[in-house]
Each structure stands twice: as structure tokens, then as C-alpha cells.
Homo-oligomer: 757 residues x 2
């Protein structure tokens, strides 16, 4: 389960293109509500640009469809059928696959497709039309991790870790797993870039895994109201479903890293330090977070980055994969605020003494570094480190290597702070942009050789097309030299069939007077500049997210468009603290989340007030999660500025948020009481003057219901009158039809109390 503090509209943001769409007097129809909201019955046809299901077989491009896979000629674009679903299913004796969209081609030199069937994995040879290898199990919807090298499978069931070998042997790595002791799962609440709990060695014969003891962690008492069990034969009464939730400053879990050797069936644990985790004496110096696991190319060592609870001291360490013994500390990073290791090291495929390291702490932006192990490593641990990229932009993602050219592949926002383009860099630091167009937001998928890639992109400057997919073939192909990439898809934006409001972007200065902040402004459909319009700020404002980007319609969400169609000006500003703008930009908020962010949002308000068509007496604000915190903060800190707010899944008091995310930005309640007190919305609840609707998922495991309910209690005690809604059974975000309901509810609230007042 994904538990990140994340903006709800991240789900809305697709990665495509359109320039400010003038709404001309036209006969085009208006949008229906369900056209614009994910989960709406017409959302996919009216808002989602067509796409292709592409993947790589070696350097060859494969298009996957429901019933057929085809090779695409990288130069000419011709499709050549590879195999059909009926052919696949005809040779599957005990199971069937329903479609071919997600099949994989793990071996560049073999005509084998990997099928995930209800019974297990099958490798199917499309030349002989035979299943050449089978591996059954596991049953049920369990987390799986398959090694294409050894063909062993690791999976987690009921908090225990199991392996099925390539020849079908079933092994239990652990047997004592339960809610208190979990094996093979993501740990540390998926912070620090952690997204899984198992890590196969390069040859697939050893499995590194996390083991998390959370017996000492308090449980949040989530309640399942069992609405679907009214006629249950057992009992229909609600039941508690406790969820381990370590709150900031309180006792947290303890993690170890194990290595299971499939051949010996033995497990060893790394000799990592184990800090004290008691709530009343928070360990600040001992490493307690074990992050960014990666294997040495020869499988003999395991690397990881260890971080102390205070999150201001990271250590890149090497352990002996056979014994678990500590070998060397390669690098250390310290900060007077926090360091946040997010990226495992990756060794150069052509030189096992060198690896790529990413950090934002060396020059204030996330960059790539080339590290060289010394002769005599690990006895001599001193690593040579030199920058591969530098400058006031951020590397957004590491994408691999071009093994032939010996370059490193990545994306960055060098060309445009709100854009994303594809680059290579050689070991001397020479960067080359690989995608033809510098504008827009480019999602890239490289072939394993790194010689070819797909580029699925869109740009705010292009409002005709919703998605473009180009293929850049392997550079060794002389036919493409100097040619433009081959366009595989030109997906017209489905919004072109409707009256799209004008969507603009630009920058204003932050409250510090110097920093540029990007905004997006959506004007009402049938805009009349002599009118005064109610105006709603859609906000997130927290780290690791942005709302304004160079993609399709500048990243606008469908709800903004709906509101514009109802006669609202919609405005969004990515304040300091949000992502992709460097370390100082993000860390301006340290130990006082919300304070600088609100100052920047008030600069946005000043900008709005400078626009003659904005009705400054009818300003509203809406946001979810961190954006719900921002909304509630703004409504209670500036009660005379905002008339109406809708806060979803809000953080109300960072004391109720979890250890890993919360303490990074706020330290602990013990060490930063003034920061926790001054940002708490419990103390501001009595300030509320406008209409504030607070909405939470009834079983939110991220911002637990205690946030919203405590705020409601504080408002009652303080004599103020918020409104409330909940989605029973839902988590941190609403999806499907619940999302449609949610945005109808939110829209109605602004109509009732902002537009029609």
C-alpha cells in the first residue's frame, strides 16, 4: 500500500501538451462533469489522450495490444506481427491470459515472452509456439519479485517471505512474521525512495530483504464499518483494524537487512547498528534508517545508505554479503537541516570500480556524481567523488547507461525549471540533450542497451495534441543519422472537442523577494474581462510535489477546468518547499512547515488582487493532504482573506504525523516544541471565520482521522463552525466513483458559499 503524503491531483496530472487555449466563440459543447474527473464515466474518452503500450525487446521496439504483439521498425515505423493472444492461449494448457498489454520480453537474444498468468509465470517461445518454462504460484494478490537471471521468485504473504526457485521448489525464508514483525516488505513508510522489500543479487541466487520489528510501535485504531457485510452470518458489527503508526517523537520500528542464499537456504543478517528507539529519549546519532540497498556487481557486497533518526547524517556503507560483516563507510553526508538519501548507487556496467551517486547536498541541487573505489577497497575505503552534472537545475531521474557510448542517461529540468528533458552525460561531464524538443514534459523509456528510447511527451505550448510518442532508435543505425526521431503516435487532445478555458502560466516573486515561483492561471470559460469573478486557489505546497509544469495544459487538473466553466478564476502557485527547485528552495520551510509556504501563497493573493477581473471579496482555497494542511492553515491564519476553503485529508498537527516524513522537516516535538506548537491548527481553530469544509478518508492510513477529528473538536471548543465530510472505508485519496462524488461535493460547496454569495 502506497502511503506517501501526496497530492490528490498528482493522479490527475497526465503528461501531455497544449498551449493556452483561447476560448473562441464556438459551437463546441461545454464539458460534462464526468468528462473531467478521473473515475467519471466519460473521463477516458473525453480527457485522456490515446496512448500506446510500448516496450523493448533488446533494442527492438514492441507494441503490445489486447490480442497481438508487434515489432515496430524503428526507422520506418512499419508493424510486423509477432504473435497473437489466441496463439499464446492455445498452447497454455492449464491457464489463460486475458490480454497482452503488460507482457515483458526479458531476454534480448531469445524469442521469449514472459506471461504472468493466474497460475504463475510462463516463458513462451513465439517461434516454436511452446511454453519453454513454467513456475506456478503463489496464489492470491501478493507482492512478488522475480529475477530474470535465476528465474527464482520471491514473494510475501501474511508478512512472511518465501522463495519459489526456478525449478519450482518452495522455501520459507521466514515463519514468524505477523503485524509486529514483517519480512520482505517496504519499510520506513516508503520514505527515502524505498518502494520494495526484496532485492535479488545480480545472478539472482541471493535475496537481500528487509525485516522490520514494529512490536514497539503504537497502533492506530482504524475501524472497518463493514458496510458490505450487513447480512454476514458471523457479525455485522464494526471491527477494529489496527495499523502500526509511529507518531513524530514517539517510539519507532527497528529494521534489519537479511540475505537469503537460495542454494544453501541459509539467512544471514547484516551487522548494522541498532539504535535506541524509545520515544522519550530519541536517538539522534545512531543510524536507524537502512535505505537505498544495492548489490555489488559481483554479488559479494551489499551497499546501503544508513541514516540517523535526526536525518542529518547519512553514511554509504558496504557489508559482506556472505557474512553480514561491516566492511567500509564509503561516503558520509551531514547537514544542519536534513539529508534525504533517495537513490541507490549504481555501478558502471563497463567498470566495476565506479558507481553513480546522486545527492542534493553537495551543491544545492540534485546531481549525478561519479565515484571511484580505491585500490584495496574495502580495506581502503576512501572514495574519489567528482561531479558529472552541476548547475542550478535538478537531475530528475537516473535512466541508465548507453553501454556502447559509455554515457549516463538521465532526465533534468535544465532546459526549463518546470520541464523535463532527456540527457546523456559522458564521464568527463559533457551533457547532450537527447530529445529533439526542449519544451514540455518528457517521459522516457530506454532500451536496456541505452542506445534507443521512447519519448512520451506533451507541452503546455501545444494545445492541439494531448500526447506525442517518439522513438529514438539505436544510434548505431546509420539510416537515422541526422534524421528526426520517428513519431509513433500523435494523439489529438480530446479536450479540443470542447470549450477549453484559457490556461496561462508565468512567474511571480516569492515572499523572499528574489525567488521565482511558477503559477498557473485558468480563466473562466467565456471570460469577460470587465466582470469580477470568484477565485479559487488550488494548493499543495509540500515537498516532493509540484502542480505547475510544462506538460499538457501546464499540468492543469480537470476540476480546475470544471470550475472555470462554472465561472471561477482558478489559480495555483508552487510555493517554496515544493519540488525540483533545489535544496534552499525546499529547506526554507525547515522546522516550521506552512509558514513560508503561506507567505508565498499570500504573494499569489496579491498577484490575484492586481488582476481587475478577480473578486478579492470572493477568494477560496482548496487542497488535499499537505494541501489540506495549507488550506486549513490559510483559512485560520488569514481569516479575512479567504471566504471559503475545502481541506481534504489534512495534516492538522504534525505531532499526529509519522516519524520518517514528519521529523525530517520538523525535527521532533521534544526538540522543536515551538515549531510544532506554532504550526498546529488546533491552536488556530478558534480563528476560523469563513466556510471551511474538511474532508477525510474514513480509514486514512497516512493522515489518520485523528487529525481532522481533533480539529473539529478544537473548533467546537473554540466556538467556530467548520463543515465536515468523510468517505467511510476510503484511504488517503478517493478513487473511482468516490472521486467523482468528492469533486461534486467540493464544487457544490464553493457554489453555495463563494459563487452564489
Amino acid at each position: 500500500m502506497k502511503k506517501k503524503l501526496w497530492v490528490i491531483t498528482a493522479l490527475m496530472m497526465t503528461t501531455t501538451t497544449m498551449m493556452t487555449a483561447q476560448n473562441t466563440p464556438t459551437t463546441k459543447p461545454l464539458f460534462a462533469f464526468e468528462d473531467l474527473i478521473p473515475g467519471g464515466s466519460t473521463y477516458y474518452t473525453h480527457s485522456y489522450p490515446k496512448t500506446l503500450y510500448l516496450t523493448w525487446w533488446g533494442d527492438q521496439c514492441v507494441e503490445r495490444n489486447l490480442e497481438e504483439c508487434s515489432l515496430i521498425d524503428n526507422v520506418m515505423g512499419d508493424r510486423k506481427p509477432l504473435f497473437t493472444l489466441s496463439a499464446v492461449n492455445a498452447s497454455l494448457t492449464d491457464t489463460q491470459v486475458p490480454y497482452l498489454y503488460l507482457v515483458e520480453f526479458p531476454y534480448p537474444d531469445q524469442p521469449l515472452v514472459l506471461l504472468e498468468t493466474p497460475k504463475g509465470r510462463r516463458l513462451w517461445n513465439w517461434e516454436t509456439k511452446q511454453v519453454v518454462w513454467s513456475q506456478n504460484g503463489p496464489e492470491g494478490d501478493v507482492t512478488q519479485d522475480w529475477s530474470k537471471d535465476s528465474r527464482h521468485l520471491a514473494y510475501v504473504k501474511d508478512h512472511n517471505l518465501y522463495v519459489v526457485t526456478a525449478d519450482g521448489q518452495d522455501m520459507a525464508v521466514s515463519t514468524d512474521g505477523n503485524l509486529d514483525l514483517v519480512y520482505g516488505e517496504s519499510v520506513h513508510r516508503e520514505e527515502f525512495g524505498i518502494s520494495k522489500g526484496t532485492f535479488w543479487s545480480p545472478d539472482g541466487q541471493k535475496l537481500a530483504f528487509y525485516r522490520m520489528d514494529q512490536s514497539m510501535v503504537t497502533s492506530y485504531p482504524q475501524v472497518n464499518i463493514k458496510t458490505d457485510e450487513l447480512d454476514a452470518t458471523t457479525s455485522r458489527i464494526a471491527v477494529m483494524e489496527p495499523d502500526k503508526y509511529p507518531m513524530a517523537g514517539e517510539t519507532s520500528h527497528q529494521v534489519k537487512v537479511g540475505i537469503f542464499d537460495v542454494n544453501s537456504q541459509k539467512t544471514i543478517y547484516l551487522d548494522t547498528p541498532q539504535g535506541s528507539l524509545s520515544g522519550d529519549s530519541v536517538a539522534t546519532s545512531t543510524p536507524i534508517y537502512f535505505t537505498n540497498i544495492s548489490w555489488a556487481p559481483d554479488g559479494k557486497m551489499l551497499y546501503l545508505i544508513e541514516l540517523n533518526r535526526d536525518q542529518n547524517h547519512a553514511r554509504l556503507k558496504a557489508y559482506d554479503a556472505a557474512t553480514g560483516k561491516f566492511l567500509a563507510t564509503l561516503l558520509e553526508e551531514k547537514s544542519d537541516k536534513y539529508v534525504e538519501p533517495m537513490h541507490p548507487i549504481v555501478f558502471l556496467p563497463w567498470d566495476q570500480t565506479k558507481f553513480i551517486y546522486q545527492t542534493r547536498n553537495r551543491d544545492g541541487y540534485n546531481h549525478l556524481y561519479l565515484c571511484t573505489l580505491p585500490d584495496g577497497f574495502p580495506v581502503k575505503p576512501a572514495v574519489n567523488i567528482k561531479p558529472l552534472t552541476c548547475g542550478s537545475f535538478e537531475v530528475l531521474s537516473f535512466e541508465g547507461f548507453n553501454k556502447e557510448k559509455k554515457t549516463i542517461l538521465f532526465t533534468s529540468n535544465e532546459a526549463d525549471p518546470i520541464g523535463c528533458s532527456v540527457y546523456s552525460v559522458d564521464l568527463k561531464g559533457k551533457r547532450t540533450r537527447l530529445n529533439a524538443q526542449a519544451d514540455g514534459w518528457h517521459n522516457v523509456q530506454f532500451a536496456e542497451s541505452g542506445a534507443a528510447f521512447f519519448d512520451s511527451w506533451a507541452s503546455g505550448n501545444d494545445f492541439e495534441n494531448g500526447r506525442l510518442i517518439d522513438v529514438y532508435p539505436a544510434s548505431g543505425n546509420s539510416a537515422t543519422k541526422g534524421k528526426a526521431p520517428l513519431r509513433l503516435l500523435t494523439a489529438r487532445d480530446p479536450w479540443q472537442d470542447f470549450q477549453v478555458p484559457e490556461i496561462k502560466t508565468g512567474t511571480i516573486k516569492a515572499a523572499d523577494g528574489v525567488t521565482d515561483l511558477y503559477y498557473r492561471l485558468v480563466l473562466p470559460t467565456n471570460f469577460n474581462p470587465s466582470k469580477k469573478y470568484p477565485t479559487v486557489i488550488y494548493v499543495y505546497g509540500g515537498p516532493h510535489a509540484h502542480l505547475v509544469d510544462a506538460g499538457r495544459h501546464w499540468g492543469v487538473g480537470g476540476w480546475d477546468v470544471w470550475m472555470a466553466q462554472q465561472g471561477y478564476v482558478m489559480f495555483t502557485l508552487d510555493n517554496r518547499g515544493s519540488e525540483h527547485r533545489g535544496l534552499a528552495f525546499e529547506q526554507a520551510t525547515f522546522r516550521q512547515l506552512g509558514v513560508e509556504e503561506m507567505k508565498d501563497q499570500l504573494c499569489g493573493v496579491d498577484f490575484l488582487k492586481s488582476l481587475p477581473y478577480v473578486d478579492a471579496d470572493r477568494l477560496g482555497v482548496h487542497g488535499w493532504s499537505f494541501g489540506g494542511f495549507m488550506t486549513t492553515s490559510l483559512m485560520t491564519t488569514y481569516p479575512d482573506v479567504f471566504k471559503v476553503g475545502v481541506a481534504g485529508g489534512p495534516v492538522i498537527d504534525w505531532r499526529y504525523y509519522e516519524v520518517m516524513y514528519g521529523e525530517r522537516y520538523m525535527d521532533t516535538p521534544q526538540t522543536n516544541p515551538e515549531g510544532y506548537n506554532s504550526t498546529s491548527l488546533l491552536g488556530k481553530a478558534a480563528n476560523l471565520k469563513g466556510h471551511l469544509l474538511v474532508i477525510y478518508g474514513g480509514n486514512d492510513p497516512t493522515c489518520v482521522p485523528q487529525h481532522t477529528l481533533s480539529f473539529i473538536r478544537a473548533c467546537i471548543d473554540g466556538g467556530t463552525y467548520p463543515d465536515l465530510f468523510t468517505y467511510p472505508g476510503d484511504g488517503h485519496n478517493m478513487q473511482g466513483t468516490d472521486r467523482v462524488h468528492l469533486y461534486r461535493k467540493i464544487s457544490q460547496y464553493f457554489d453555495d458559499f463563494l459563487k452564489n454569495k
Copy 2:
């Protein structure tokens, strides 16, 4: 903890008087909100008529005040000081009492006052000014039951039962008590008239008590969000506080009755039958409810009324108090609907072979019966039973005996179906009304001899006075022969200082076409008959409650007055199913709660539509608990009739309500699936059209949050849009400042969506 399904305005209803108050063009001020709502800062001064703290010392009338107790001359009304607080406290060496309002005078022939001090009980002689007897403990806020005869004290702490003897010896009656096994507490969720769990024998040497095994009962997962523990040194995370809650048709608890002999320190248990209580095979014939415990006058037998789970077969039984053995079944009652034993038998003080029995099942109204034990009882068990009262009215309460005149004292609504007067009846059935005025609602407090009583009363016909207190002295006092009672208090209605809206009462016909239903109508302040007003129905509608009575302002609540002042017509109708109108009136709703009730409320709507000043396009409805069920039922069953509703603490599906109350009226989900299905509001949630605000206490132990949350979920799934609010930490009703907040919230909702639309 009181857990009855009860109407929130029951707390509002005081028992005083006033006739339809014409709002004349006057300079009187309007009410402030807090004048009218219990919990408001000016409620007690502006809405609560003055009272006296009276009690009896034998047949002598005592007035208790903060600092003094006085004897009142029953004939002349002169006060004679008895003792002062300072005198009391001067002789208390180790503790003090803060006021004298609640002291008691247990011994008619001794000058002793019983003081409940923080340290324990003291008997203080006001002539010698000495403490003559002390009994320390128990500490903390625990349930206590003191015998004035033996001066032993029983108390319950942490689910175990203890006795402190008159001489201070501490005894544990039980030691294995916990949430699963409770001793000495109220059982069966306080249905069947049960309000306590300990029962002293006449001489105070034996203690009958309940023992309830609820280990087999499901727990409702109530959550304590600990808003007051933000800086807790342990953990601030929410905690589960499970509450045993047997839902209709599911497995219920098992109760036994024990008797503890203080002298032998031995406990025996009655040999009561123990029925099967498994949820999937509901026992319908075996007695499982053990109710209405009373002692034989000689303390040798214990009587109780046993009832089967189907609640249609009651048995009055006698058990041997020394051995626990079953002795005799004295009476049985059966019904094709339900019987509901509410009253323990009471033996005549002057004849230990005769007792008073109350039932509504013999002639359709609650009446008193005189029962005579046969010679040879208990071997010969056949009891002779004959009516003492009869007729189409209800005995409302048994009040005791006049031992000298050998009459039985009670209240009834014989004089007025919505009134309450005081009567005596002799053994031949001759009734005499004892209070001078037949109108109004009379609260009576008899001296133990039954010869004298206080009458605290008010009448809807009298709008000058808020409360009148009369004393009727002992009839043996020749000075009062033929005289009017002595008036001790004439408390002017504090509302007379404000503009009181016109408040009327009357009857309309029920949906059956024949039954009279009582309504109350409140006209807007500054009523203009040529205007059209928004109109709100305030509803309860369930059994064991009424909203319209002959008391002060016809039982109106302050919120109705507030709403009238805001320009609403307010209307309330006690539909069939409500109390005091006989068995057929109540049981018209059997197995389909809400159906007939709504039909009657629609008769009320027809009546309202016949009034030229009612705006039929702006009808609203509000109710709490059963009234919340009614409100939600009306909003979803008649979505075109009601535009706005506010439902508080509603029952949404009777399958989520508890066994004892729920199965009485609805049978079980297994035996009455069509009744449960057709009355469930989950199936009607998709019908909602108007504005419906649903409010619940965050920790409601009566209508558990599962009701409201399931309804919200059903509305989301059904594509309808209710509003929601909750009072975190509150139970079934809001009190104090939360109540003020609640009614502001409710008022605002009607203003937003009914009045100003």
C-alpha cells in the same frame, strides 16, 4: 452510564407552565441564543424558572439551601432554621461538605442528616452537633448503594462488587470482574426499567445483585482521539475503547442474579434458567432477561420477572433467598407482539400477602393491579389478581402508599391525555385526585408515610408562572382540612421578560383516521398571518417518549422558540408509537418501525399545508436519535415533501441497534427480514434530494457511529449528497457548550438552505 434511546429535547423539557403567549407589540427584548439552549451562559437565568430544594424528614417539610436547612411549617409556610453548613463543617474533622442542597434525612424519628462527604458518609445530629456515625470510602466516582436500615454500603469498582459494612469492614463480593464479566451493574442495557445492579434486602443484611457475562458479546470499536493528551508523555495516538454491544439477532450476554449475605459473607446464585444465546439460533422461549427484582417483606424470597428473548412471554417468579432455589411462578403474560415488564412488584406495607403489580397487557393501558398470594404460597402459587385502576388512560408512576388510609398513590393522565396528576386509590378501586388543579403536569414527591406530598407543577394554560410548588400536608392535620394546599413557590416564568412567540396545542387525526394525535405549533415572533413562513417539524416519534404535554409552554423547547424568533413556524406531533397513549397506540408500529409513524407525520404535513401562512415549499424536519431515524426516513421516503433535514444520532438500520430495545419492536433480522429491509435507510439513501445534515456523537455508545457512517457510505454509493458533522468524544447527546454549538450549527443549516433559499 445511561444508554437509553432517548430524545435530546427530553433534557430541555422542564415541567412548568404557561399559556399561549400572544406576542403583543411590546418593547420586550428578543431572546439571545444562549438564553434558550441548555448549556448557554444565560440559560439558567433566562429560561429556567426558580426552584426549591425540598425533601422530607418524616412528614415534615425541609428546605435545603447552599448554607442552611430549614423546616417549613406545612400549614403556615414559616421557615425555621434547622442547621447551617458552617455548623456541619465545624464538627467534621477530616473532611468538609460544599453545600447542603442534596443532604438527606433518612430517619423520621431521629434528628440525623446524612452527609455524602468526599471521604464517605456521615450521620450528623443537628441537636448535639455531633457526627454520630461515619463510614469512609470508597474513593473515586463509583456507583454506590447504601442501606439506611443496616447502614451497609454496596459499591462497584472496575466491574467488581464490594460491601462496606456499617462498622467499616470492607468485603469483596467478587474478584474476577472485568469488561467481560461485570458484577453489581445495570444489565440488559437498562431496558425493562432496570436502572441499577444492587438491591438491599429490607433489613439491609442481604444484597441481591446482577452478574453479567458478556464475554460472548461483540465489542464495538469506539475510538478515543485523546485531544486532551497532545503533550502526553506516553503516546498521543488515538486508542480503541471497546464497548460491548450486542446487535439485534446476534449473540447476547448472559445474566445471573446473586445474593450476598453480609453476615456469612457467602454468595448464592438464583437457580434461574439459562437460555441459549447464540446468534444463529436465537432462543425465543427460554427466559434470558431477569428484570424487576424486588424482595419479599420478610427478606426470605426474591421476586423477579423473567422474559424470553422474543420478549413475548413474561413470568413473575419467586426464588428462595437463602438457597437460590426456584419456588413458584406467580403470574405469566404473553403477547403476539411483546410484553414489556417495567415495574417491580411492591408489597402492601400493612399486608404482606398482597402486592401491587403494573401491566399494560391486561386492558391495553398501564394499570395497577392488586395481587394476593394464596394460603400455602409458595407451594400453592396461584395468585389472585384484580384491577385497582382501569380505563383508557395510563398510570404514569407508582408513588407509594398512604399507610394510614391504606391507599395506593400514583400519577396518571386520566384528567388529560397529555397531563400528569396525582391520585390515590383504595383497595376497592376508588380513585381520588389529590392535587387541586387538574390541568398541567405535576411532579410529586411523597413523604414516606404517604400522608403529605410536594407538587411541583406547571401548565400550558398558565403563561405567567414557570413553576409552582405546593405542599399538601398530612391529612391528619386538622388545620388543613378543606383548605387549599400551601403554596411554597410561585416562580415567575423568566421568558416573560422577552418576546415569547405564540405557542398553541391541539389534535389532528392520525393516518388511521380515528386516533387523536397531539400537536404543538409555534408561530413566528411578530407573526404576520399574510406572510408565508418556512416551517420546521421537530420530531421524535419513538416509544417511551412524548414531546407535547400540558406542562410549561406545552413542553416546548428553547430551540423552537429561537427558530420562531428567526421567522420559522415550528411544529411537533406525537405520532402513534409514542408514550402514554396505550398499548395499541404504541404497538401500531410493531415489526416496521417508522412506517406508521411517518404516515402520521404526513398527516401533520397536510395540516400544516392547510395553514395559509405555512410555506409548503419550505418544509424542514429535525430530530435526534429515534427522531434522527424519523428525520432521515422522512427525507428519503418523501424526498419531494421536505427540503431540509437535520438528523442527529440517527438509527439508520435496526440491524445495527442493540438486542433488547431493537428486538422488542422489530423481532430479529432472522425472523423479520422484510421489516428490517424495508425500514433500513441504507436502501433509501439514493432517494435523497433535499439538504440533509447528519450529526453524530463521535463516541455514541447508543446509536453507534456505524449507523451514520454506513448511511454516508450508502449515499456516496447511491450518488446523493448528505452533509455531515460529528462531536468527537461525545456520546449520544451533546451537553453543555457542545449543545450550544450543536444548535447554532443546526439553526445555521436551516437558515442557509431553508429560510434563505
